[in-house]
């Protein structure tokens, strides 16, 4: 027991004395979270819009002020005529144009019906559709106000409500995926490299010929990274809550328990890699390449798994991060309890047991 403690202390020395390890351990998560949270978002915000108001009445003014007050649009003050609009679209300085015809206010007052024109840049269809939707919602909203809170006489009005994420905050979807990605990279890479380093230095020979049980070497290697990863997880949660406005809806205890399970999965992968790799570079390459791509592509946070061909969906089932992603989404974002994620937990636990036993069995008590 004392041997294990001293061994673990030695591992902590290695981590805290190596700037590179520290950077991967704590720098990577911060950068990833901030990148995915702020920079790499699929949301459309602050789109430049030109409003051509040829009616200039109370109605159009109120609509325009609604558009101005939403965070989705920046209304260009400059008025543009037909050909200038075309040029602005070509230059890409505007994303959208809203035209109120001269009779807009009149028509609305007398006929109770008026039309507007929305022109959007279709070369980027996703953005264009999103912007048109935003504008439609704002117009619909105004229409409802006019009706005095009652039902607008004609037409079916869809009441939109985005569950668990009413604001359509894009980081919500990313965070669980990024957490999975970080654990996969940090745990697998750092453990495999730290075991292989002992082989390269020749210290592994001493560790093996010592009375210390060889399996304990692996356990001593894994424990510090488990502890550090949990610290990391706390850091990520604090960042998400503090900077990305994400609330942890479910049980924090359950979230930590599930994360511990997933960290052990990743550590097992790292230990398994260390059995195969003979150099630190090889270990790094296998863990980075071998883990990063499947995690990015087949977890479901970047590309929906449902849209993939069936064979790929089947392959995704053996990617551990896919299950962890589902669990975190359920617990953290939807506030569900263990009863909702026990199946995913069971799959993940099964994978962990399999990977860990394989790593321990394959660990050589001799040099070959």
């Amino acid at each position: 027991m004392k041997q294990l403690l001293v061994f673990i202390r030695k591992e902590f020395y290695h981590v805290f004395r190596d700037r590179r390890t520290l950077l991967i351990m704590f720098g990577l998560p911060v950068v990833q979270i901030l990148l995915f949270g702020y920079a790499l978002t699929s949301e459309v915000k602050n789109a430049d819009i030109v409003i051509s108001d040829q009616s200039k009445d109370a109605n159009t003014e109120r609509i325009i002020s609604k558009i101005k007050s939403s965070s989705y649009f920046i209304v260009q003050e400059k008025q543009l005529a037909g050909p200038e609009i075309d040029a602005a679209f070509k230059k890409g300085t505007i994303k959208c144009v809203l035209v109120f015809p001269p009779q807009f206010g009149n028509d609305l007052r007398h006929d109770g019906k008026a039309s507007v024109q929305i022109i959007a840049d279709g070369s980027d269809p996703n953005t264009a559709k999103t912007l048109v939707n935003y504008l439609s919602v704002i117009l619909l909203n105004y229409q409802q106000e006019l009706a005095g809170g009652g039902v607008v006489p004609i037409g079916i009005i869809p009441e939109l409500r985005m569950l668990y994420n009413p604001e359509g905050n894009g980081s919500l979807n990313f965070i669980p995926g990024v957490i999975a990605l970080i654990f996969m990279i940090v745990c697998a890479t750092l453990t495999s490299v730290s075991v292989v380093k002992e082989k390269e230095l020749g210290t592994m020979e001493i560790l093996l010929v010592s009375p210390f049980h060889p399996i304990m070497v692996l356990i001593a290697k894994a424990i510090p990274y488990l502890v550090l990863s949990l610290v990391n997880f706390t850091l990520i949660l604090i960042l998400s809550v503090g900077f990305l406005d994400i609330a942890v809806k479910g049980s924090l205890l359950l979230l930590f328990a599930e994360s511990t399970l997933f960290i052990i999965t990743c550590l097992s992968v790292g230990l398994l890699i260390s059995n195969i790799a003979t150099s630190q570079q090889a270990a790094m390459l296998i863990s980075m390449m071998g883990m990063m791509l499947p995690t990015l592509l087949l977890t479901g946070f970047m590309y929906p798994l449902e849209n993939m061909p069936v064979p790929l969906q089947l392959v995704a089932n053996v990617v551990p991060s896919r299950w962890y992603y589902l669990i975190v989404k359920a617990v953290m974002l939807k506030g569900l309890g263990f009863s909702a994620v026990w199946r995913e937990t069971l799959v993940l636990a099964g994978m962990t047991v399999a990977l860990l036993s394989l790593a321990l069995l394959k660990f050589k008590t001799r040099l070959e």
Binding site: K2, Q3, V6, F7, K10, Y13, H14, R17, D18, L201, G202, T203, E205, I206, L207, L208, V209, S210, P211, F212, T365, R366, L367, E368
Partner: protein
């Protein structure tokens, strides 16, 4: 009971394609300082790794303190001290942290066995808070030896401990080994330096995986069957070439500033004959004398016999 016994040990790599150790048998007596002498690639490290239970032999058996290296490997791991050839400690840990770590790993403390490492560790003490990576080569070797000794092993395996270490440190290191031997520790040491062979009690000359001779350094030197001559001239390379063309010369090798030669038929006037031959070939600054052979001469002679 012998401390270390190898009986017909054979080891191959790459699925039998590379023969590293070829039917090696030898015994090391308790308390003996035994040297395994041979060039790089002779199979020394493979033998050490089989004895330290890190590798399995293809054929043959081996015991350490009567314990079988395959069956009883866990017990052997408790009683042996091992310093691998490329052993470099934890560079980012201090001298004291390294030593504490290995002491604990082997289930002991620095204080408990301090008497055994005192002589060596006293020299390291001023640097005990320095990281191992910042030590000189000689210091590193001493620290590594401390780490291998800290649990008071019964048998000590040192794989090329002096390779890459300066001459003064090498000398010191061998003094330390002599003191450890006096404490009753059996030491098996390997080295590619022939001059270190005479510092061992008994040596085994090993080449291409097989043992050529095992005896005390003195006896090995005295077993040299013919007379040996040393010759030099102003142009040593020219002389080497000429002597190798000389029909009367059996073998001729460069040894520092001299050539070492043996004659095919030694009638007792070889010194004069060689001098005359060199002069006839136009060499200047000629000196020829009879010398007593060293370990390296024996090694080369045995190696050539084996290759023929």
């Amino acid at each position: 009971m012998d401390a270390v016994v190898l009986d017909g040990i054979t080891k191959t790599y790459a699925g039998g394609k590379i023969l590293a150790v070829d039917n090696v048998s030898l015994t090391v007596k308790p308390g003996e300082l035994f040297g395994l002498i041979g060039p790089d690639g002779a199979g020394k490290t493979s033998i050490f790794r089989m004895l330290t239970t890190l590798l399995l032999a293809d054929k043959g058996t081996a015991t350490v303190q009567g314990l079988d290296v395959v069956k009883d490997y866990r017990q052997i791991r408790k009683i042996l001290g091992y310093m691998p050839g490329k052993f470099s400690l934890y560079q980012d840990l201090t001298v004291h942290e390294n030593l504490t770590f290995f002491a604990t790993l082997f289930g002991t403390t620095i204080e408990e066995n301090y008497d055994i490492i005192r002589d060596i560790y006293e020299q390291l003490k001023p640097f005990s808070d320095r990281r191992a990576g910042k030590l000189s080569g000689g210091m590193k070797q001493k620290l590594a030896l401390c780490c291998a000794l800290i649990h008071k092993p019964e048998v000590l395996f040192l794989d090329e401990p002096t390779t890459g270490v300066d001459v003064v440190s090498r000398r010191e290191f061998w003094d330390i080994l002599a003191r450890l031997k006096n404490m009753g520790i059996t030491i098996l040491v390997s080295t590619p330096y022939m001059d270190e062979a005479s510092l061992c009690e008994r040596i085994a000359l090993i080449q291409a995986g097989s043992i050529m001779q095992i005896d005390t350094p003195d006896k090995i030197v005295h077993s040299y069957p013919v007379r040996l001559y040393a010759a030099k001239s102003a142009n040593i390379y020219g002389l080497l070439k000429d002597m190798r063309d000389n029909a009367a010369v059996e073998s001729c090798f460069a040894f520092g500033e001299y050539l070492h030669l043996t004659m095919k038929q030694d009638k007792g006037n070889a010194v004069a004959d060689l001098e005359a031959f060199a002069r006839q070939k136009g060499h200047t600054g000629i000196a020829v004398k009879e010398i007593s052979p060293g370990i390296e001469d024996t090694f080369i002679r045995l190696m050539n016999q084996k290759n023929q």
